[in-house]
Amino acid sequence: MPPFAAETLLHDRDRRGVATDRAFRSVSVVAGFSVLALLGLILVSTTNAAWPAFSAQGLRFFTSTTWDVPKGEFGALAFAYGTLIVSVIALVLAVPVSIGISLYITEVAPPRLRKPVIYTIDLLATIPSVVYGLWGVRVFAPWIDPRYESIAGWFDSIPVLNTVFNGRPISGVSFMTAGIIVAIMITPIITSLTREVLTTVPSSLKQGAYAIGATRWEMIRGAVLPHSRGGITAAVMIGLGRAMGETIAVALVIGSSSVVSARLFNPGDAMAAVIANQFGESTGDYRAALIGLGVVLFFITFFINSLARVWITRGRRRAGIL
């Protein structure tokens, strides 16, 4: 064997590997930055298109609840409020159910039942939202209407709650119905993501809990949930993003009424739904105001997502997983 030549260690810039490596690097840098650029462009062009409304309405655009097209008064607050209410209802209903289903699939269900359940859930996620919306307005809303009435009856004499759950005339199309429909839509998504997070829990961790005499539920609380907290939060945030951006289903079942109301059984409206319902007939400042709603929605989702990121990272660091 010839003696080892140390020069061969020196960087050979003509080697093919080096060239491919460089090419790969530039492609990924370009791809990465183009996403940012696209985001920036969308933001600039929408803000630009919405500018007439922003400058005409001033701060009132964000603080007023009046949306009066003939008078040219455009305030986004009622719709932002509607978006938040619907999203909160959807999360409150969907998160426990989703976590429950994923725990059932990963920890409780007999192995041969797991696959069918997973398939069914994933199938639900592929149904287009307009189908949920139509079902919501044609089937669900008429069915739930009398039930809202009886629920309102229970809370008649309890302060605060008799506002939240009352507000006659009660309507089948309302914040609550929109929230329930959106909850049904985001449950499969949150379930799928959560299930994936739960399957990453090392079995050594679960055995550790069982070995101290944990029951299944205690094992889940001691080992599975602490390990998955960050991932579950991320899954919930993705669900929340979906809920806030959900357009057509909400537009069909929310009842299209621009009020800020704590009454969950009353019609309201949400930003994405307003845009979808009114964009076609709009012109001029009216159209600018609708695009302005889009900008506000963009910022709210962006803000919530960033908050979630920070939260997840902090949680992981505290648990020492990072």
């Binding site: 192995p111 090392p202 050594s204 961790l205 679960k206 055995q207 550790g208 809990a209 069982y210 070995a211 101290i212 005499g213 944990a214 029951t215 205690e218 001691g222 080992a223 602490p226 390990h227 505290r318 648990a319 020492g320 997983i321």
Partner: protein, 282 residues
């Protein structure tokens, strides 16, 4: 003469404590134990008696079924769908595999420490307090945490960071934390499956020291590949091996010899034991 032979006898001679075969109270009485994973029998015909406040070591080549047998003592095999246990394991006279026995209660009495440290992704404090909490103990958790960590020799290193994540500890510290976590519920028996295999000699030494210290209160069964370790800490040693069984050519684990540790390492009755401990195995 092989290396191993030269190593073990000094380890026996250097023992800081006496080999204490008390013959007091029988904790476990194993008869005709066999475990199969679906169709494959991993180990069969095991008869053993484990006595109170003794350290029993399980040694033997890889795959002979030491972990499998160990998991029978706290019903951990229940968690493996394919595992089927036959024979009887009496614990203070009660058959652990009696249908009326609740495995959760069994595991509260019979703790286990694993080969790889497996702290929960929680604070050091919450790791130790987990067992007492699920056992419904609310009083003086602080005291239990301090006492368990002290016994596991981790208190001085951990006392200023009890609220930080247990995953920030070193491997050896994590293993001592797992021991502390296991003894926090004051179990009766401690099962240890190669607890030192990922630790350096100093951390190993500390854990051996710890075992000697707590042995006055606990019955310990330890699986180890380190024969010096078995010679240093155990009172009795069980040697298992795997042999081709029947015409199928499947390997099946067997208990070859079970005796006083001094006898096993200096004067074994079976030549397979002799071959294994002198490093002439296989």
């Amino acid at each position: 003469m092989s290396m191993a032979d030269d190593d073990i006898r000094p380890a026996l001679a250097e023992r800081v404590d006496d080999i204490a075969v008390t013959d007091d109270v029988e904790v476990f009485e194993v008869t005709g134990l066999a475990v199969r994973y679906d169709e494959v029998t991993a180990i069969s015909e095991v008869d053993l008696t484990i006595c109170e406040r003794e350290i029993t070591a399980f040694i033997g080549p890889s795959g002979c079924g030491k972990s499998t047998v160990l998991r029978c003592f706290n019903r951990m095999n229940d968690l493996i769908d394919s595992a089927h246990v036959e024979g009887s394991v009496l614990y203070h006279g009660v058959d652990l595999y009696d249908p009326r026995v609740d495995p959760v209660v069994v595991r509260r009495r019979i703790g286990m420490v694993f080969q790889k440290p497996n702290p929960f992704p929680k604070s050091i404090y919450d790791n130790i307090a987990y067992g007492p909490r699920i056992a419904g103990i609310k009083a003086d958790l602080d005291g239990i945490v301090e006492q368990s960590l002290t016994r596991a020799g981790l208190w001085d290193e951990a006392k200023d960071r009890l609220r930080t994540s247990a995953l920030g500890l070193s491997g050896g510290q994590q293993q001592r934390l797992c021991i502390a976590r296991a003894i926090a519920v004051s179990p009766d028996v401690l099962l240890m499956d190669e607890p030192c295999s990922s630790l350096d000699p100093i951390a190993t030494g500390r854990i051996e020291e710890l075992m000697r210290e707590i042995k006055n209160d606990y019955t310990i069964i330890i699986v180890t590949h380190n024969m010096q370790q078995a010679a240093r800490v155990s009172d009795r040693t069980a040697f298992f091996t795997a042999e081709v069984h029947g015409p199928t050519g499947q390997r099946r684990g067997r208990l070859v010899e079970f005796d006083n540790t001094g006898t096993i390492f200096s004067n074994p009755a079976d030549e397979r034991t002799e071959a294994y401990i002198t490093g002439r195995f296989g």
